[in-house]
C-alpha cells in the first residue's frame, strides 16, 4: 500500500518532469490562493500547474487520469459561484499563460488563448475596429477561458447576447487527453453543436485551451444617458417601456440609492446620490439612429418622472459613467468588509415586483442590500454587504440568498444569468429543473467525462443521474 503522501510526491514529480519546477506549485503557501474564487467558499488544492500550450494540457490531463486525481481548470478566479473551487484534493490547471491571439479581421473572428484577459482582447482588436462583445464587470481581470466556461455576460449583452453567441469554436482537451476542435469559422458547422454545451459547462466537460470568437464591429456612434428617479418603480417602468417600445439599447443598467452612494464615494463619476434609482442607458449604431433612439429613451424617462437626465457630452464623460458602473463591486468594500453578490434573472415585466420582495427579504434577515444590475434583460444582482466577523451573519446571508433564488424562480426566472451555478447554486437546481431534466444534464457530463475527472461536484446536485428514469408512459394511453 502506497501512502497518500508518496502518491502526491510521485504526481508532483511527473508534473515537474513535464513542465519544470517553476510551473508546478505544490507548496501549500503557494497553492493557497488557488483554493478560492471570487465567492465565499474555499477548496482543497493538491497541486497547481501552469501550462503554456495545449500539448502540455493534454499531458497534464493524462497524468491526472492515471493518478485518478480530479482536474479543475482555472482562469483568473474572478468567478463568484465557486466554479473554480476544488471540492476534493485536485490538480488545478491554471490557463493564464495561454495568451495567444490570432485575428482574422476580414472574417471578424479570432482564435484566442484561454488565458487572454477579456479587456486585452478588445484592446488588441481595436486596431481593426472590432471588439469582443461580452463585457463582464470583471473584464480587466477575467479570462476568455473563464468567460467560455461560465457563458459570461455583461452590460452589453443586452443587444449582443452572452458569450455563447460569440463563440464559433472551442479547442477542447477531453477526458482521455485528446484534443478536439468543436465548431469552426464557417457558418453552421455540420453535426451536433457540441460547442454550444461546452460553453457554459463550467469546466466539467473538458478543458478549453483556445476559443474561436466572433468579433463585433465598433459602432460608429454612441450615446450614453443617465436618468435619475425618486422611485425605483419609475426607473423599472422606463426599462419596460423602452424594451416594449421597440428599442433594444446596447445596454440598460440600473443602480439603487445605496449602491449609487457607494459608487460615488469611490469613483466620483457624478452620479446623483439622492436619487432612489439611477438608470444608465446606451444606444449605439449609425449616427442617424442613435440620435433618434437617444431621444426616445429620454422621452420614456421623462414620462416616467425622471428627475434628472444627463447625456454624456464626450468619450471621457461616457468612460467615467461606465467606470462608475463597473467599479460598483469594488466600491462596496468601503461600506462593509464582505459581500455576497447574487445573480438571478426574472422576466423584465417582473422587475418591480421582485425588487420589492428582495428588499423585504433583506429586511427580514437584518441585512443591507444594494442593487446594481442589468435591468434591460432582467438580470438582477442584489448585493448583501456584511461583516463576516459578526456572529451568525453568514447563515442569515445564505438563508436570504436561497429565499431570493426561490422568489426569482417562482416569478418565472432563472437561478443565474451570467455567474454560473458552480457550488453556490448547485443544490438549488431542483428549483429550476425536474428530475428528468437534471438526469439529462447528468447524461451529458457522462458522455464527455464518464469517470468524472473534470471539476467534479459542480453544477448538478449529487444523485442527478437517475438510472430508473425512462419511458414515463401513462398506461393504456395507446393500447
Amino acid at each position: 500500500m502506497v501512502s497518500a503522501s508518496v502518491r502526491h510526491v510521485t504526481l508532483v514529480r511527473e508534473l515537474q518532469h513535464l513542465l519544470g519546477d517553476d510551473r508546478v506549485l505544490a507548496d501549500p503557501l503557494r497553492t493557497y490562493v488557488y483554493g478560492k474564487d471570487g465567492g465565499i467558499k474555499r477548496g482543497d488544492v493538491a497541486v497547481v500547474t501552469l501550462p503554456e500550450n495545449a500539448g502540455e494540457v493534454i499531458e497534464i490531463v493524462r497524468i491526472a487520469a492515471r493518478h485518478g486525481i480530479p482536474v479543475v481548470p482555472r482562469g483568473a478566479g474572478t468567478g463568484l459561484a465557486g466554479g473554480a473551487v476544488p471540492t476534493r484534493p485536485s490538480l488545478v490547471v491554471s490557463l493564464t499563460r495561454m495568451t495567444q491571439i490570432e485575428v482574422d479581421a476580414e472574417s471578424r473572428s479570432a482564435w484566442v488563448g484561454a488565458g487572454v484577459l477579456n479587456l486585452d482582447l478588445s484592446r488588441h482588436t481595436a486596431r481593426y475596429g472590432l471588439h469582443f462583445a461580452p463585457d463582464p464587470s470583471s473584464q480587466a481581470a477575467c479570462t476568455i477561458g473563464g468567460n467560455v466556461a461560465n457563458n459570461s455576460g455583461g452590460p452589453h449583452c443586452l443587444a449582443e447576447g452572452s458569450t455563447v453567441n460569440h463563440v464559433l469554436a472551442v479547442e477542447l482537451i477531453t477526458a482521455t487527453g485528446e484534443m478536439v476542435v468543436l465548431g469552426g469559422d464557417a457558418p453552421d458547422p455540420i453535426g451536433l453543436d457540441l460547442r454550444g454545451i461546452v460553453v457554459g459547462s463550467e469546466g466539467t466537460l473538458g478543458i478549453v485551451t483556445r476559443a474561436l470568437v466572433k468579433l463585433t464591429p465598433n459602432p460608429p456612434a454612441v450615446r450614453t444617458l443617465l436618468a435619475a428617479y425618486d422611485r425605483v418603480e419609475d426607473a423599472a417602468a422606463t426599462v419596460s417601456e423602452v424594451i416594449a417600445g421597440g428599442i433594444v439599447p446596447a445596454a440598460l443598467e440600473m443602480m439603487d440609492r445605496p449602491m449609487t452612494a457607494a459608487v460615488e464615494r469611490f469613483v466620483r463619476a457624478g452620479f446623483p446620490t439622492t436619487a432612489a434609482a439611477v438608470l444608465l442607458a446606451e444606444v449605439t449604431g449609425h449616427p442617424a439612429a442613435v440620435e433618434a433612439e437617444a431621444e426616445l429613451v429620454r422621452a420614456f424617462a421623462e414620462s416616467n418622472h425622471s428627475t434628472e437626465i444627463r447625456v454624456a457630452a464626450d468619450e471621457a464623460e461616457r468612460a467615467l459613467l461606465w467606470k462608475g458602473r463597473k467599479a460598483a463591486f469594488g466600491a462596496v468594500a468601503q461600506t462593509a468588509p464582505d459581500y455576497y453578490l447574487h445573480d438571478t434573472v426574472v422576466p423584465r415585466t417582473k422587475l418591480v415586483e421582485v425588487m420589492a420582495k428582495i428588499s423585504q427579504i433583506a429586511e427580514r434577515n437584518n441585512l443591507v442590500v444594494m442593487n446594481v444590475f442589468h435591468a434591460g434583460d432582467g438580470n438582477l444582482h442584489p448585493l448583501m454587504a456584511f461583516d463576516a466577523s459578526e456572529e451568525g451573519v453568514l447563515d442569515r446571508v445564505r438563508a436570504a440568498a436561497d429565499e431570493l433564488a426561490r422568489v426569482c424562480v417562482a416569478a418565472g426566472g432563472a437561478l443565474s444569468g451570467e455567474h454560473g451555478i458552480g457550488l453556490e447554486k448547485r443544490d438549488l437546481m431542483p428549483l429550476a429543473f425536474s428530475e428528468a431534466d437534471l438526469d439529462a444534464q447528468a447524461r451529458l457530463i457522462e458522455a464527455f467525462d464518464p469517470g468524472g475527472l473534470f471539476n467534479p461536484d459542480k453544477v448538478l446536485p449529487a444523485g442527478s443521474r437517475c438510472f430508473d428514469i425512462g419511458r414515463p408512459v401513462p398506461e393504456g394511453t395507446w393500447i
Partner: protein, 372 residues
C-alpha cells in the same frame, strides 16, 4: 412490413393521421396532440426499435441522410402558441407552429422571431431541428442565438427541458443550443422559447449592380446574386434614409426577400466569411447563387448533377475548413453524393451524446453526418 404496419396502426390508433404525400407509404403516420402522447409514441417505437421520421412542414426533409421510417411523427397537431410575452420579447411555441403564422402574429405587435423570411410551409420545430437561419442572421445572429428554452421528447420517450423563459440564463447545460441543428438525433423537439426582436420602424431594399467590399455598419442583410446585390436596411426612418443615400443605387420600400436560387438541386456552401469571394470563384458558371457576405454562406441552385464539379467544390470547401451541404435534391443525387460530406471532428463525442438521448437510435437515424 404490412403486418408490422397494421399492428402499429392498432397500437397507435389514437394518433393516426392522414398519409403525407411523397412520404414512405409503408409507414404509419401519427400526429400526437401533446408532448406526453408524443412520448408515448416514441416509447412504443423505442421498445420495438422502429425507425421514426419526424415531419414538420416538410421543407427541409431533403437535408441529411434519408430515413426509411416505420412511423412518421408529424407535428401537425402540436400547433399552439403557448405563451407570448410581448413586453418581455419572448414567445413559447410548439414545434408544429408554422413559421409564417408565427411571424404574422408577432408582426401585429411589431416583433419578429427572426426566423427564415421565405419559410413556405416550414415549422418552427423544423427550423430549429435543421438549424436554419434567415438572411437577417447578418444583423441578429443565427437562430441558435435566440433559443432560450427547449423541451425535447427523447428517443426513449422521456420529456426533458433545458434553458428557461428568460432572455439571459446560464442555469445548467445549454440544451437549447444542443438541440438546434440536431435533426431529431436527441428526439422530437417539442416546444421552444425564442427571444424576439422589435421590428424596426422603417425598412428598405436597396439594389446595387455589383458586390462591394463594404455595405456600411451592420446592415440588416445583404444578398449577392450573380447580376445584382440586395442590401436590406432597417431602423429609424432617418437612419434608413441616410443609409440609402450612403449606398446609392435604386431602392424599394419594405423588405423584398428573394426566393431560393433556381435549380432542382439546392446546396449550401459554407466557408469563413473572408473566403466567400474565393469560394464563389470555385463554382461552375451554370450554378445560380445567393451569397451572404459577412455570414460566409452561398445558397446554391443547380439544374443538373455533375459528380465531378460537385466533388471539386466540396473538396475545395472542406480543405478550407468549410462544407458543401445538400439542401434538396432528387433521389439519385442523394445516392451518389453524401448530403454532408466529410464528418466533423468529435464524432465519437457526438455518438456518445446521442446515445444518451436516443439509446436505440430510432428518431431520424442516419440523418446526421457520419451516418449518425
Amino acid at each position: 412490413m404490412t403486418s408490422v404496419k397494421s399492428a402499429l396502426q392498432r397500437r397507435l390508433a389514437a394518433f393516426l393521421s392522414d398519409p403525407i404525400e411523397g412520404v414512405a407509404d409503408e409507414a404509419v403516420v401519427v400526429a400526437p396532440p401533446t408532448l406526453d402522447e408524443a412520448a408515448a409514441v416514441l416509447s412504443v417505437a423505442s421498445e420495438h426499435s422502429l425507425p421514426v421520421l419526424v415531419w414538420g412542414g416538410g421543407t427541409h426533409q431533403g437535408m441529411g441522410g434519408r430515413v426509411a421510417p416505420a412511423i412518421v411523427l408529424s407535428t401537425a397537431r402540436l400547433d399552439s402558441i403557448v405563451d407570448w410575452q410581448p413586453e418581455d420579447l419572448t414567445v413559447v411555441v410548439e414545434a408544429g407552429v408554422r413559421v409564417a403564422d408565427l411571424e404574422d402574429l408577432l408582426a401585429g405587435r411589431s416583433q419578429t422571431a427572426v426566423l427564415p423570411e421565405v419559410p413556405g410551409d416550414g415549422t418552427v420545430g423544423g427550423a430549429v431541428a435543421a438549424g436554419i437561419s434567415g438572411f437577417r442572421r447578418l444583423r441578429y445572429g443565427p437562430t441558435r442565438d435566440r433559443m432560450l428554452e427547449v423541451e425535447v421528447v427523447t428517443g426513449d420517450g422521456r420529456l426533458v427541458r433545458g434553458g428557461g423563459r428568460v432572455v439571459k440564463n446560464v442555469t445548467g447545460y445549454d440544451l437549447p443550443r444542443l438541440a438546434t441543428g440536431s435533426f431529431g438525433s436527441l428526439g422530437l423537439i417539442g416546444r421552444v422559447c425564442l427571444k424576439l426582436w422589435p421590428l424596426p420602424a422603417a425598412a428598405r431594399t436597396v439594389t446595387l449592380p455589383e458586390a462591394r467590399p463594404d455595405y456600411g455598419y451592420r446592415p440588416l442583410a445583404v444578398v449577392e446574386e450573380p447580376d445584382r446585390v440586395l442590401v436590406f436596411l432597417a431602423g429609424t426612418p432617418a437612419e434608413v434614409e441616410a443609409r440609402t443615400a450612403e449606398l446609392g443605387g435604386g431602392h424599394e420600400e419594405g423588405l423584398r426577400w428573394p426566393g431560393a436560387p433556381a435549380g432542382s438541386i439546392r446546396l449550401s456552401l459554407r466557408v469563413a466569411p473572408r473566403l466567400l469571394p474565393d469560394a464563389l470563384e470555385q463554382i461552375p458558371a451554370s450554378w445560380s447563387y445567393q451569397a451572404l457576405p459577412g455570414v460566409g454562406e452561398a445558397r446554391i441552385g443547380a439544374a443538373d448533377f455533375d459528380p465531378v464539379s460537385f466533388s471539386e467544390v466540396r473538396r475545395w470547401a472542406e480543405s478550407h475548413g468549410g462544407a458543401l451541404v445538400l439542401i434538396e435534391a432528387p433521389g439519385h443525387v442523394h445516392e451518389s453524393f453524401d448530403p454532408w460530406g466529410t464528418p466533423p471532428a468529435g464524432m465519437d463525442l457526438q455518438r456518445r451524446v446521442v446515445a444518451r438521448f436516443d439509446p436505440d437510435r430510432i428518431v431520424n437515424p442516419g440523418r446526421l453526418p457520419g451516418g449518425l
